[in-house]
């Protein structure tokens, strides 16, 4: 064992410098050329930074499209999910409350039309996206409060929908922050 101790310590020190020091430093340097300059991509609106493209934020006002429920209250410095099991009675009560609350805020929507992703919490608590269905279902509410024709809002959602990768892989998503910015810009 002794024979190997000194080489182990020296090799460890060198590798710590290479892998813990130079490797991330190099990447931080290259990242200066990338979108967001290695700090994450930010979104500006009316000359002000209003958030990160990929971090969900809270929209309490019914005049906006709302993101998926978050168990960490959209805390971007402490991500996390509920970790509740499928059959946990307390959890199912929470889901029922979300359904009831949604029905109160969206009286024009039938219960069977509520997509599951709007009454279940995301994994990170920061899911920035909705499915197109979860955005459409909010249209009657937003249309009524803003006096905008529903068709126009649907077009807005379609314009802000990103299809599957290369049209083939994965799901269609709608970025809630960008959709709400476009909504505010609608005059």
């Amino acid at each position: 064992m002794k024979k190997y101790l000194l080489p182990s310590i020296k090799l460890t020190a060198l590798l710590v410098l290479l892998l813990g020091g130079l490797y991330p430093l190099f990447l931080a340097g290259v990242a200066k050329l990338a979108p967001g300059k290695g700090d994450g991509i930010k979104v500006t609106h009316n000359g002000r930074v209003v958030g990160y493209e990929n971090i969900a934020q809270k929209f309490s006002d019914d005049k906006y499209f709302q993101p998926r429920p978050s168990t960490v209250d959209y805390n971007a410095a402490g991500s996390g999910g509920s970790n509740k099991a499928a059959g946990n009675p307390d959890y199912l009560k929470t889901v029922q409350e979300r359904i009831d609350s949604f029905m109160v805020h969206n009286p024009d929507v039938k219960k069977s039309d509520i997509p599951a992703e709007l009454v279940t919490a995301s994994a990170s608590g920061l899911d920035p996206h909705l499915t197109p269905a979860a955005a459409y279902v909010q249209v009657p509410r937003v249309a009524k409060l803003r006096n905008i024709p529903a068709d126009k809002l649907k077009q807005l959602i379609d314009a802000n929908t990103k299809g599957p990768l290369m049209g083939l892989f994965g799901l269609s998503t709608v970025n809630v922050l960008k959709l709400n910015i476009a909504l505010d810009d609608l005059k």
Binding site: L27, A56, K58, Y64, A86, A121, S122, L165, F169
Partner: protein, 570 residues
């Protein structure tokens, strides 16, 4: 729906397409042939010179293991003290505190053994210094340790009679400089240009559209996430792991992370065939591993896409599947695929919480970790499979009444004893640990720990039992995923899983290396008509049967109490 499944198929297809050339390259590196990466050799020579290492000195299997254990011990001591004193070290822009002794013990062990159990949360529990200089460093070297041990076994299988099995330092360092580091850089660059952070800036306060002030954590994420997957480590930069939108921003990064985590395990199987020049032997192993994966994958994806029956009862449509603990940009099919892959290989990263998956999916996750050899972790997956092969050769030998032989060497009592001990070790650690925690929970619910046992479980009933079973299974398999609702940030879990981690890592490395080393030193027996052919499909099926029977016998009672009972009660 269709595009979701297409995405999964494409991802697996890309993995195979890239694994093939990678395996050829790996074989070249370890045979010492010329490759494009020879420009690294001056750096390697410099490292060896400073460290006082002669990379040409041949070692026997015992010397290999001594070197491996010594350097692992050095890493553990270094990591423990760095984590314990991290608040006094530089690169801590968020002012995070030092870890407690038991947490630092668990975290250090967990990253040294390639597990990454993470009883802390990335945003608050570590600093940039420890993320980079300790955790990311360990993610490289622990993966290289597993691969180096496997290469020793490759060499032992290839040679007729020898005790000289190459130089540990040489294999270990080349694994990093020729394989892990260059590929990690490529992966990290893909991440960076997809919006993953890579800078050293601390968390930033942003005023949201409706005027809330929100602190957003970021940091040097991209490089960390690259080696996290390539080295089958799985420890997340953020608490939400690869579900976090800055740790996995879009479908391109999802595919990249998915390919990255399974490419080396698959390439090592192909490399086995080329290295020992028995391609059919390796292809049969690859076939068995793939069949095993598909058996776990199909129920997982089906269950997740079908949705939660309890929510269906409420009258809610689940066109997108069971979305609790999942992200819209990945969806249920992709998250189901990830959950299978991350548990059969020992990554343990998640893009959706396993605690919230359906009971049958949870069963598949547990089985994946209990088998721990379907592709398996960097290097160690094949080592685990090797043990099953030894058992299968032994049983087949008994059945036909001949002294069992493998790769031209007699398999005798000593080797079989080692294989038997390694096989029994996993169920012992998992079941004894689960029993102990269940006992503490029911007999000492108010014990004065950071989290009282009565508050450990995040879910009642069968699923609560599964949370404890999952934690020890994950620790033993060096996987690192969890049913994360478990309140594991206290001395009981930190210490008990810490010991399971050590035993579950090093004995299953030493065992196969010892068997291979002992066999290689024996007299070579040329193959004859009476030799059991280990490269036949029949023998592959035999190995598969051994794996299934051993796993079922060991774990069925515990699984019946957990996910199976939960499934029937939902």
């Amino acid at each position: 729906m269709t595009t979701e499944i297409l995405g999964v198929i494409a991802t697996y297809g890309i993995t195979l397409l890239l694994a093939w050339p990678l395996s050829r390259y790996i074989v070249k590196v370890f045979r010492g042939e010329r490759t494009w990466s020879d420009f690294m050799s001056p750096l390697e020579r410099l490292f060896f010179k400073i460290s006082g290492i002669n990379p040409k000195e041949e070692m026997d299997w015992k010397q290999h293991m001594k070197a491996l254990l010594t350097i692992n011990l050095v890493w553990f001591v270094y990591a423990f003290f760095a984590l314990f004193f991290q608040d006094k070290l530089p690169l801590n822009p968020d002012g995070n505190p030092g870890q407690s002794a038991d947490l630092a013990f668990n975290t250090a062990i967990s990253f040294v053994v390639n597990c990454n159990l993470q009883h802390y949360s990335g945003e608050t529990g570590v600093t940039y210094f420890t993320q980079l200089f300790v955790l990311a460093f360990l993610q490289f070297v622990s993966a290289a340790t597993g691969i180096a041990a496997l290469i020793v076994v490759f060499k032992a299988m290839k040679e007729k009679t020898t005790t000289k099995l190459g130089n540990f330092w040489d294999i270990f360092l080349k694994t990093i400089t020729r394989i892990l580091l260059p590929i990690s850089i490529v992966i990290a660059l893909i991440f960076v240009f997809n919006g993953m952070p890579a800078s050293y800036a601390g968390k930033e306060a942003i005023v949201s559209m409706q005027g809330d002030t929100v602190n957003v954590s970021h940091g040097p994420v991209a490089g960390f996430v690259a080696i996290k997957h390539l080295g089958t480590n799985g420890g997340g930069f953020f608490g939400a792991n690869s579900a976090h939108p800055l740790e996995n921003p879009n479908y391109v990064t999802w595919m990249t992370e998915m390919v990255a985590q399974v490419i080396i395990p698959i390439a090592m199987v192909f490399a086995l065939g080329m290295f020992i020049q028995r391609r059919k032997f390796a292809m049969v192993i690859f076939g068995i591993m793939t069949i095993g994966m598909i058996c776990l994958l199909i129920p997982s994806m089906q269950q997740e896409m079908a949705g939660n029956p309890a929510i269906a009862h409420m009258g809610i449509q689940q066109a997108t599947g069971a979305m609790e603990g999942k992200e819209v940009r990945f969806g249920a099919a992709a998250t189901g695929y990830w959950s299978t892959v991350t548990t059969i290989i020992s990554t343990g990263s998640v893009c959706g919480w396993h605690d919230s998956t359906m009971p049958m999916t949870g069963l598949m996750q547990l089985l994946g970790m209990m088998l721990n050899c379907l592709y398996g972790g960097c290097g160690v997956g094949i080592l685990n499979y090797y043990i099953y092969i030894i058992i299968a050769v032994f049983i087949s030998g008994l059945m036909v009444g001949r002294t069992p032989e493998f790769m031209g060497h007699k398999l005798e009592a000593r080797e079989v004893k080692i294989a038997a001990i390694i096989t029994l070790l996993s169920p012992f650690l998992i079941l004894a640990g689960t029993a102990l925690s269940a006992w503490v929970l029911s007999h000492h619910p108010d014990a004065d720990w950071a989290v009282k046992p009565s508050a450990w479980l995040n879910n009642p009933g069968y699923h609560g039992f599964s949370e404890m079973l999952y934690e020890y299974t994950s620790a033993n398999a060096n996987n690192g995923s969890g049913f994360e609702g478990l309140g594991d940030g206290n001395i009981f879990w930190n210490v008990s899983t810490g010991f399971v981690l050590i035993l579950g890592r090093f004995l299953p490395i030493i065992g196969p290396v010892a068997i291979a080393g002992l066999m290689a030193s024996k007299k070579y027996v040329p193959e004859s008509a009476g030799t059991l052919r280990t490269d036949s499909i029949t023998f592959g099926a035999m190995t598969f049967a051994v794996i299934v029977i051993l796993t079922a016998l060991s774990y069925f009672p515990a699984l019946a109490l957990g996910p199976i009972a939960e499934y029937f009660s939902l």
